[in-house]
């Protein structure tokens, strides 16, 4: 099985503290990790860990972060031949301060100055022989081109709708599966349930709105169900959403029904939270299946 993904990639510097520092003071970091990030990029890494062949397309600078982003994806077995490297400028990076006591995450991020992929850089051959295409809509023009190419070739498309941006609903309308965040719902000025209904009106095969520790709501075949989250002692929720998307695609590729698919995605994401950073804690298939047997996550029907 082969999954292609097109989107943003970043380098995350994650520091853990026992208290959030006041300005102009010193505070000790108890743990520090540098890991790659980006919605589609981390979803592909999670699929790679499950044994799926993955292919990433996007753009980084040739700066330190860009080199590390590329190296990190390659080390996880992601094919990065579609990841263009631009001379000069800066790649996206984020410095994330996690308060161990409160779980708060303070994010300092640097906007990338490299150009987004242009539609003409989306090679049809990158998409046509794949079993799935993952998009995050962070490079809108090329995402739309990729979604259209996929539809024409019969390749199912999943959109990770993290935030409402111009063109995002149009891109959602070109997608077979839409997994949106709670922030996306807020961006639409809707409750998660109403946002889900709005997304379902775009005629996807299924749509899900994730709610963090409160689980998720999913629409499929005219029905809505809620799934509570697996209870874990989370160390760091960075990348949990991205891993959820990877697990979701994995379930669909296995031909599982939507409830089992969402339940798997949820367990997959929960286990990731046991380790710091977006990628270090991504578990093996065996570990997820074992965890799902032992731990409960109830599916609640909504009529």
């Amino acid at each position: 099985m082969k999954v292609a993904g097109l989107g943003q990639s970043s380098l995350d510097y994650i520091a853990f503290v026992d208290r959030f520092p006041e300005e102009d003071t010193k505070a000790e970091v108890t743990d520090f990790t540098v890991q790659g990030g980006g919605p589609v990029a981390t979803a592909l890494v999670s699929l790679s860990r499950l044994g799926v062949k993955t292919f990433f397309s996007g753009r980084v600078s040739d700066d330190h972060a860009g080199v590390e982003i590329r190296r990190g994806l390659k080390a996880e077995g992601v094919d990065v031949r579609g990841l263009k490297v631009q001379k000069g400028g800066s790649s996206q990076l984020a410095f994330i301060l996690v308060n161990r006591k409160t779980g708060s995450r303070t994010i300092l991020w640097q906007r990338p100055t490299v150009s987004p992929l242009s539609p003409s850089e989306v090679s049809p051959s990158f998409i046509k022989d794949k079993d799935f295409l993952l998009l995050d809509g962070l490079m809108m023009d090329s995402s739309v081109r990729a979604a259209k190419t996929a539809r024409a070739a019969g390749v199912p498309v999943m959109l990770d709708a993290g935030r409402v941006r111009p063109g995002m609903l149009e891109l959602a309308a070109l997608s077979d599966y839409i997994v949106a965040s709670e922030e996306f719902a807020r961006g639409l000025k809707l409750t998660p349930l109403d946002a889900l209904k709005r997304l379902s009106s775009l005629n996807p095969r299924a749509a899900t709105v994730t709610l963090g520790a409160r689980g998720s709501v999913t629409w499929a075949g005219g029905k809505i169900f809620r799934l509570s989250a697996f209870k874990v002692r989370a160390v760091d929720t960075t990348g949990a959403g991205d891993v959820f998307h990877g697990g979701y695609v994995y379930g669909l590729l296995q031909g599982w029904d939507i409830q089992k698919t969402v339940r798997f995605a949820s367990a997959f994401a929960a286990l990731k939270c046991l380790r710091p950073g977006g990628r270090e804690g991504i578990p093996t298939l065996k570990a997820v299946l074992k965890f799902m047997k032992s731990a409960g996550a109830r599916v609640l029907a909504y009529g």
Copy 2:
């Protein structure tokens, strides 16, 4: 000319923001730089830029930061054969958040878990053929051994006294030149002037207490003088003290008198502040000499 240095080394991640973030929010970073740090390590880099042959001894882990620390020093021409690499553990690193509007520096730092150098690891040959030895007292036992070896071999010793730590005054008593920070004076519960008098009682050839933007006070040959700082539009003061120490050693190596030496160190450090990070802005000799001609920094005698 050859200068040896023994001390701590670290990797600094420096992010610039227009406002200090509130906990659990997102803020945009306007600039980001990764540069090596550590008092003696950066002082050696500054001497290296001035054309002096430099040699560093210390210990890092084989982690990402350790690899970058070593690479950064090597790239600046510092001889790192005395920098031991320990398998496992973590090197020292710091995440520094600089508020562009207020100039505040919020420092998140990770304590290194690698062992300090032991005295038996201080090879006499590392010190004996050098013209100067720089110490920061961050690995006390090996620093004391190094200072004693240097004295026996007639190699002058400069101590960068950043903070009062156990054994620091004993190490200062073994040093020919003592350059202390204002924080060191506070640690002694003394005013800078009284701290300077206390240090002069240890019989160095000269002692200086640096006061940041307020300049410095120096004792030499029974006299005390104050030097105001050079006025620059500082972008980042990270490493300014370390560069001051490098400039101080440089002046002494040239045989300049103490006033010219301190004035040079002060100009050298001021120019560094024009660029972000501890090392990027370290100027060339030509640039410092030109700046000193054009810009004033008054020497005030204290009787």
